[in-house]
Symmetry: C2
Subunit: 303 residues, 2 copies
């Protein structure tokens, strides 16, 4: 599978998964869940102020009569109610509506009804990029600001699970940096080499890790050939890009979105069930793609 159409085909073969939306009175979110249901990606339970949810749907001429609505006026309560639906197995994915990120994450991490697993939480963005043959996972571009080596192990483990769910049996994981050689003055390169070593030693499994890699060696086979990088495990064919920190990750992520021809979707991982935390600036298609990515991961977790 090397594009979002492939992802949708795979989803079509599974039983339809269900989203629980926290504080669902948000026009962009209602639009996205409507499209997700129409495209048979996922159904949704809308938790929030029922009157406002109907009002917002009417204001954008969207029929939501076929969605289950759970009426909870208070936002904090609505989030806890929605996340509990996922916690209890009544829904398969959890999605943020008109609630601030902090309050939403508090519900995700709630000790009683939340989705904690003990694993670190991390964010993964899946990209289909015109001119790149594979789907590309970028991580972490939005959640962990300055990941430690241990965090990066968690990030890789979380992302490899998502890649497996997407049908990539042994993803190639590239911890990237400005240069492809270890430079003791650049901690990102030292940690990248350490991650590759942990992979060699069987401490990181289910994938191939090669680092440090510069971006061209990671994603451009021709550049890799040109640089004579024949002894590397990744030669321009990376599936997963692991960034040194959130600045590098987020700046690359947004550069791709705003300059290249791409499709993308994002989820939060390391949780019991996939969590969708799109921002208002994400496009409609990105929101729908995020639901699709979550559905694929939910299917894998249900096995």
């Amino acid at each position: 599978m090397n594009n979002f159409d492939g992802l949708l085909e795979k989803i079509a073969q599974c039983s339809m998964k269900k989203l629980a939306v926290a504080v669902a009175q948000d026009d962009a979110v209602i639009e996205a869940v409507r499209a997700a249901k129409d495209r048979k990606i996922a159904d949704a339970i809308l938790v929030g102020d029922a009157d406002k949810i109907k009002e917002v749907a009417a204001s954008i001429n969207t029929d939501i009569s076929d969605f289950e609505i759970v009426d909870v006026k208070d936002n904090t309560e609505a989030a806890l109610t929605a996340v509990k639906l996922v916690h209890d197995g009544k829904a398969d994915m959890y999605m943020k509506g008109l609630i601030d990120t902090k309050g939403f994450l508090k519900s995700v991490l709630d000790k009683e009804v939340g989705l904690r697993t003990g694993k670190p939480l991390s964010h993964v963005a899946l990209f289909e990029i015109e001119g790149y043959e594979k789907m590309m996972f970028l991580t972490d571009v939005a959640f962990i600001p300055y990941p430690t080596l241990e965090d990066k192990v968690g990030i890789i483990n979380n992302t490899v699970e998502v890649a497996h769910a997407c049908g990539i049996e042994c993803p190639k994981v590239a911890p990237v940096a400005a240069v492809e050689v270890v430079n003791p003055k650049m901690p990102a390169t030292v940690e990248a080499a350490e991650l590759a070593k942990m992979n060699d030693e069987g401490k990181i499994t289910g994938c191939i890790v090669d680092g440090p890699l510069s971006m061209d060696l990671a994603i451009d086979p021709e550049a890799a050939r040109h640089k004579g990088a024949t002894n590397r495990k990744i030669v321009g064919d990376a599936d997963v890009i692991v960034f040194p920190d959130i600045h590098a990750g987020n700046l690359v992520y947004k550069t791709l979105v705003h300059t290249a021809n791409v499709k993308n979707g994002c989820i939060l991982t390391g949780t019991k069930a996939p969590v969708i935390l799109t921002s208002r600036s994400d496009s409609f298609e990105t929101k729908v793609n995020s639901i699709a990515l979550a559905a694929i991961v939910a299917e894998e977790l249900s096995k």
Copy 2:
């Protein structure tokens, strides 16, 4: 001027500038200086092993009979001879040939015949990006690993000079980060705000600095509108992107080169004359564009 064609038109109106090439026996460099001369961007003096220079030129069927060749067999000596030509005003720009970066930079920084100014050296990459209306300067993506606040001031000053040379009277400078708000836990955002303040106070001049900015606010007018960023000085119309560190800068740079539709060229700045330090993995067009960028800057310095 918003593309490389505009740059070339501007160059056509100036007197032809001259490159001094250090250790010129390099096929890719000879190809680039040949094209630069044919396109009337710049002439060149080839310093290095004359026999080898002629041999390499012959091996790629390139006529170099109209270039001045200075025969110096030893690489270190050749670099010092070439840089002295620039130092003495016999050439206008200095270019790296078949010599390692370290040895080349040593000649740039040579106290007697080098190109020191007392200003910090920094790297700037100029991009023409399909879909972005302006030329975009990225800095520093290749030279200063972890710039301090003081370094960033130097980087901005160097880059603003280059932007002025390119005809951009008051460039909009965006120190970018993962987020567009100051977060005390993210030093890059604190420094970005500090740079904007220094600009307000007249300590950084000739430009408008606004930061911290996320990449979408810096380069996407629609995203800036969508986020309601109307009170910012930069709303998706940045000319200069200043990166938190070399990882962020280099990863964005290579992502652009390998996924978007771009033209680009790079020079080293902060020197008496522009320095061209392309790498073997740079494309032929990038090398020629780098010479063009250097020529524009050399013209400005000659005034």
